[in-house]
Symmetry: C2
Subunit: 120 residues, 2 copies
DNA sequence: CCTCCATATTGACATATGTCGATCTGAGGT
DNA sequence: ACCTCAGATCGACATATGTCAATATGGAGG
């Protein structure tokens, strides 16, 4: 995925989500908002990344070491790294270095935001 | 999107979703389930399709005529048809012919399923 | 400083995806 | 029958995406 990073620190995405799913006869979704939301959803819409999120969710503290992923996922290390990068850039995971290892923690709020984007 | 249709009549997808988001220390997501869920999420993870869903949601009866879409979306008719096909195959819309027009109706349950797939 | 190990990045590749113009199909109306 | 219009499909194209081998990076420990 070409990584035009989702502006996550700011509330832009959250606002776009609200505008997209505003209940009642709200104005149809604007393209710019849709682009922003789609970028977040694209990050989740991949089998491997769904598996990663599942593994992290089930791990104590909702965090996992990158070294533990290639085996259960059955894919090469660079590929895992690639997917982790996408999830981090989407704001769904945070990265933290511990010694020579990289740990990734789930950001539940971000996942909630993605879910909210699909509200009717 | 190459259209390996999501098995929507059957409950397979719904079961896959449940297995993927089963709360507590459930077993990590299996690849096959993740593939199924990803196919549904991919259908939603596109700016144009998000806009289409937004328009349908805001329309009376949650239904819309295909003829009313190219203008607000700003894309050509074949492209609209392409996206509608993907949404129908994902089970998010149903198609109905009325005379020479094609009407599309939202399937809220399907959208709920997609949302459920993102539960933590 | 040099080596080892875990990650990240790069380059190359095949495939998937979004887009449009041109054409086919199907339902009315004359 | 014919014509017309809405929609679907086809063909072509550029770009995006997922994958891996090879290589670079960066911390830990001798």
């Amino acid at each position: 995925m070409t990584i035009a990073p989702v502006p996550d620190g700011r509330a832009e995405l959250a606002q776009a989500v609200e505008r997209c799913c505003a209940t009642e006869g709200s104005s149809p979704v604007m393209r710019a908002d849709a682009e922003l939301v789609a970028r977040l959803l694209k990050a989740v819409a991949d089998p491997v990344r769904l598996q990663i999120l599942g593994i992290v969710r089930c791990s104590p503290g909702m965090e996992v070491c990158a070294c533990d992923l290639p085996a259960p996922l059955g894919i090469a290390q660079p590929t895992v790294s690639h997917h982790l990068k996408i999830l981090v850039e989407a704001g769904l995971l945070t990265r933290e270095r511990r010694g020579q290892w990289a740990w990734f923690t789930l950001v539940p709020d971000r996942l909630s935001l993605a879910r909210r984007a699909l509200e009717v």
